[in-house]
């Protein structure tokens, strides 16, 4: 992590940006949100039609990784940084009523909104809790799959996030996620900008060091795919992407 990044400021920035995403899905952010984005990334319209529309409106994911997650009925799933619940509800359609989906997020507004959507739309096996993805409040080997979309780049402690994901997965459990990485190391001026960090750019790890961390904490069978359908929309963000190869990838891996 960057020496000069103010992590308390970063946490405030991330919380306030994503509280705004939860509350006003149509505002202008550095990134796209909503239904059009989800469909373009590869979310299946048939399954999306069962996802509460308010969750889709606040969707701020960066890729589609479900075909790499191989979710099946009865699976217990954890979503890291669940936001307003889009991926958790989508996962719930895959694991059916016999499975369960747990979302964790540090932003109060997102957790409240997601829980209300679950209750209002009859998703009895989906629940959302406040917590940090670096300090998961779950016992060892509690889940069959851990998912995450566009979130881990926001953490200044990525290794700890993957260690925790590995800890709560049962043996043979799967990690599947989409995230923002960079081809080149980002300069300090970008890494220490909490606003760009909150927009999923400043915290983008160089791809090889990202997958090294995934491997170092004990994951095997690591598979990486590029999400060519994802793009940032603000000028500032787009130019950083062009210059440093900041882009979206999906990763799948297995706990041995």
């Amino acid at each position: 992590m960057s020496e000069s990044l103010d992590t308390d400021k970063l946490e405030r920035e991330v919380k306030s940006m994503y509280a705004a995403v939860a509350e006003s899905a149509n505002s202008e952010f550095h990134f796209e949100t909503g239904q059009e984005l989800a469909k373009r990334l590869g979310y299946e319209p048939d399954i999306l039609s069962y996802v509460p529309s308010e969750a889709i409106d606040s969707f701020a994911g960066v890729g589609y990784y479900f075909e790499m997650a191989s979710l099946k009925p009865q699976d217990k799933v954890l979503d890291l940084g669940s936001g307003s619940g889009m991926d958790a509800f989508y996962a719930a359609m895959n694991v059916t009523e016999t499975g369960s989906v747990t979302g964790i997020d540090m932003t109060t507004e997102q957790v409240e909104k997601a829980n209300n959507l679950a209750a209002d739309n009859g998703f009895h096996n989906v629940s959302f809790h406040r917590g940090y993805i670096e300090d998961l409040p779950f016992e060892d080997e509690s889940f069959d799959a851990v998912l995450s979309n566009g979130v881990i780049n926001l953490s200044p402690e990525k290794e700890r996030v993957f260690e925790e994901a590995h800890r709560v997965l049962r043996p043979d459990g799967r990690l599947a996620l989409s995230d923002i990485i960079s081809e080149q190391q980002l300069p300090e001026s970008i890494k220490s900008d909490a606003d760009l960090w909150a927009a999923c750019i400043g915290g983008a790890e160089q791809i090889d060091s990202y997958t090294d961390v995934v491997e170092a904490v004990g994951f095997v069978d690591i598979e990486v795919r590029e999400n060519t359908e994802y793009e940032f929309i603000s000028d500032q963000a787009a130019s950083a992407c062009d210059k440093y190869g900041v882009k979206s990838i999906s990763i799948a891996a297995r706990k041995q």
């Binding site: 509280a19 540090m106 932003t107 629940s127 809790h129 940090y132 998961l136 409040p137 016992e139 060892d140």
Partner: protein, 64 residues
């Protein structure tokens, strides 16, 4: 939160099992109460059905 969630949740700090004290319940849904870690003594509130499992020293509400 549902009481069955107790099977998988633990203290975010030391990963010890949490003990539940219920203040208000609606069916099997716990509306408000407190989760306590018997190991480190930290408490985690359940408010409006949502357990707050953030470590206590980081539980500020700057943006709320």
């Amino acid at each position: 939160m549902k009481e069955s969630l107790l099977d998988i949740i633990c203290c975010p700090i030391d990963k010890h099992d949490l003990e539940l004290e219920v203040d208000e319940k609606d069916g099997d849904e716990i509306i408000s109460g407190t989760l306590t870690c018997p190991e480190c003594g930290e408490t985690y509130p359940i408010e409006d059905g949502i357990p707050n499992l953030l470590p206590p020293d980081m539980r500020d509400e700057v943006t709320a």
